[in-house]
Symmetry: C2
Subunit: 495 residues, 2 copies
């Protein structure tokens, strides 16, 4: 299960003091190397009470250059955190590439705390473990180094430690009734700890069980765990091939491409018929969004589609039914440098709406399996993995009460040409077309394949793709309104 | 006072519909131009109840390209906001350069809401107005365009509007008892509004009083106010000279330079004497920081000083007295591109600590009057203005309960050379020295002048500068601990 239970002898003060300067120098060396490395390091200090987790953190933090390290502690969730899906608060607390985060408490702590409640449902704990395993897997797959230390102490040793702390007037304040409570529940908590370690142990995020009995040996063991893991991780990451542009785009799921090419593209809808129906759906959507807000549900809309397929226009009609004060449109273009320094999903987690509000993404996380696949911004293993990661991301949103509505706006290649030309010829539309649009157009076949794969491989019943024929703008806008209403209605009915 | 009370006639539906396409096109044009502009635009919609502020926002928002605009609404402050100085929540909601923010409510709304409370202190309102005027002045001086619309309605017209809304079953829900309450208090609220507009009207942040009686005329007037202000603002901003590197650095306050050069630099302190005193002060600091946390006070430490003056070492000793879980070290280097897209103080407001926690800045906002002055990253008017701006920033922190402790670590030029050489010759210190350090060293005289000016011109009793002779590292570290204790103690005593 866990890497090894490192049963250590006591370390004399003399031996410790002889050892520390070298460890400190190695830590600084680690930070210097990390600064240039393409990944962050997460050092997590977990374990039973009274093993000196805080002490270990303060000691190692004091040995490090404070400029490259951040300590994360988790207080009870703030209201901004409670108003969003469960993992949002942890995504906020991830160090960027090149930096070290030390976790005094983490997603694990919260899961254990909940499991220890008297009326806790074991199913909830198992679910939490699954979520943690997925989260850490996501990070590890991205190259993040996660070093997890579990500080262990026998029940007897823990009791002695608590008594000793209480006996000393300078440390007595640190022992709370909670500590004694967790001491009495030692066996039960120990079981949860074992279950947690078993469920979340993996390469790149291994658990190091460390005896917390001797403070000096403990400090050394934690430091060594970090140093060794880093020394093993760095060369592996450095050797990873850089992504490169693929020569051909081979469909993973040819059925998607086929379906896409066969999609019927209705051409006609009279202005009168459109306006009547539009107003009906707009009214209905407005009511639904307000009803959702009352129920503290939030919404995420995703618009993907060909250039000039009419995403902007469809978004505009959609927002006209929603109070602008509760709605935000997030255009996804090149990531900022802060975004580039994090996992590719970080920039989307940032914008996950607060309960009762709406966020519309104009292009989205699906760029990972479209432009990043085609232009070679992501390695093949990276974008292939993304189908699962994106599904999991959306699952976490829906589980957190977010209604996720996704559209693919489809037009033919001929129609795109007409629209590009029209944009070039229309004064106030000229800013909407540039060289890149023409470049992307030349890669139509590549995109078509990638889109087909995306639509098939990221299917889910929770957050289905709506294929919207957009050859006729009115028809497409109406479809967007109608499909939005239907999906929101169905989601609210389940409440 | 306000630019003009634009008393408008009613606008017929026909005239309105003839006008709208042109306005929309101009708005899109504005957004296209804004995208490349070096400033953001803030459009604020304020005014009395039932003038259709929400309608105007939804209408204009619908006319704009949703990709370049964000609507900000302010709900009651969240606990993350309440745990920080008053203006923090508004600094979070500023659009970056090139984008438009529409404010449904703002810092003004909150001030008016508080003023309208039955037991409100008029002094508090006046203070809020002063703070708003300073905030907007800060933005305007940075080139931000602030367009403020006050929608006006007579008491009689307001009563009729509320009745009409109530009579229609589709809009009745929008009228709350609060609305009728504010209708009864019309005169009083109107006085507050006038006082607000008078106190916060200025070039670049002018109030446009707009009659809210006719919805169509109102929409047009708000749009025109925005378009006209932008048309006037853009060429002025485009013509501003780019900052350039100054040839000479002339002291603004020669006394500072003199004092700096005369600062006594004690050389000796035995290791034994140091360690004894250090432990005493560390213990005291630890207790003080915990006491501050109990009182929900937070702390900001600022470390400025020559390269190799020992900032890192001093910070390390300081953090060793503070629980790492409540303490964050923020190194200030080049701003990220998100930071560059905002006011220069934005990146510091981001890191203002939550009540009860500590943030240590390793270099700080004083870069504005040091490196930015010397390297010509800021224009002369910009860095000269900064002395006042920085003082005001720190005033807002202290007013919000933050204890601001500032250090200038001083060494001689000869000592710096010794330390640079030592760094070059010591394997594990080599990463701490680079070409830029040597380049900065050649500008010693320039920096000396700028530092002298900084220390004198940003003096304040709330957040005093501590001049720390750092020729002897032990002495400097001890001073930092001691001065920190004294200042925190004094601040807590006032509670």
């Amino acid at each position: 299960m866990a890497k090894s239970t490192e049963a250590r002898k006591k370390l004399s003060k003399k031996d410790y003091e002889a050892r520390v300067p070298e460890l400190r120098q190695q830590l600084i060396q680690l930070q210097v190397q990390l600064k240039q490395a393409p990944f962050p390091v997460l050092l997590m200090i977990a374990g039973v009470e009274a093993t000196g987790k805080g002490e270990v953190i303060n000691t190692i933090n004091g040995w490090l250059d404070p400029r490259g390290v951040e300590v994360f502690a988790f207080h009870p969730p703030t209201d901004e955190e409670r108003a969003r899906p469960y993992m949002w608060r942890y995504w906020r607390c991830l160090p960027p590439r090149g930096r070290l985060g030390i976790y005094a408490g983490s997603w694990n702590t919260e899961a254990l705390r909940e499991a220890a409640q008297p009326d806790a449902d074991p199913g909830v704990f198992r679910h939490a473990l699954k979520r943690i395993a997925q989260f850490e897997h996501l990070l590890v797959a991205d190259g993040v180094l996660v070093v997890k230390c579990w500080l262990h102490l026998s029940k007897a040793a823990q009791g002695e430690r608590l008594k000793a702390l209480e006996a000393n007037p300078r440390t007595a304040w640190r022992v709370t009734p909670e500590d004694w409570k967790s001491h009495r529940a030692y066996e039960r908590l120990d079981d949860f700890g074992q279950e947690l370690r078993k469920a979340t142990h993996r390469e790149g995020a291994a658990w190091h069980v460390i005896d917390g009995d001797d403070a000096r040996a403990r400090n050394v063991a934690v430091t060594e765990a970090l140093l060794n893991a880093f020394a093993a991780h760095l060369p592996v990451q450095a050797k990873l091939p850089r992504p490169s542009r693929p020569k051909t785009i081979t469909p993973l799921c040819p059925e998607g491409l086929e379906k896409l090419q066969q999609l019927k593209l209705p051409k006609k809808l009279s202005a009168a018929a459109y306006e009547e129906k539009r107003d009906k759906w707009l009214g209905r959507l407005n009511q639904l969004v307000r009803r959702a807000a009352v129920h503290q549900r939030s919404m995420v809309f995703v618009f993907e589609g060909w250039d000039a397929a009419g995403k902007g226009g469809a978004i505009r009609r959609l927002t006209s039914a929603i109070d602008a004060r509760d709605c935000r449109v997030v255009p996804i273009a090149k990531p900022t440098d802060e975004e580039k320094a994090h996992h590719y999903l970080w920039r989307f987690w940032r914008h996950v709406p607060r309960a009762g509000t709406v966020t519309i993404f104009d292009r989205s996380w699906y760029g990972r399996v479209l432009v990043e696949r085609i232009e070679g911004f992501a390695r093949e293993d990276e974008w292939q993995r993304a189908y699962t990661e994106l599904k999991e991301f959306e699952h976490q949103l829906t589980e957190g009460g977010v209604i996720v509505v996704k559209f693919w706006l489809h037009i033919s290649k001929a129609e795109q040409l007409l629209r590009f030309r029209h944009r070039e010829q229309t004064e106030y539309k000229r800013h909407k077309i540039n060289d890149e649009d023409w470049r992307n157009r030349r890669k139509w076949a590549h995109y078509e394949t990638a889109v087909g794969d995306m639509l098939m491989l990221s299917r889910s019943s929770e957050a289905p793709w709506h294929w919207v024929p957009a050859e006729n703008k009115r028809y497409a806008r109406l479809q967007v309104l109608k499909l939005s209403c239907k999906q929101i209605e169905a989601a609210l009915e389940k409440d």
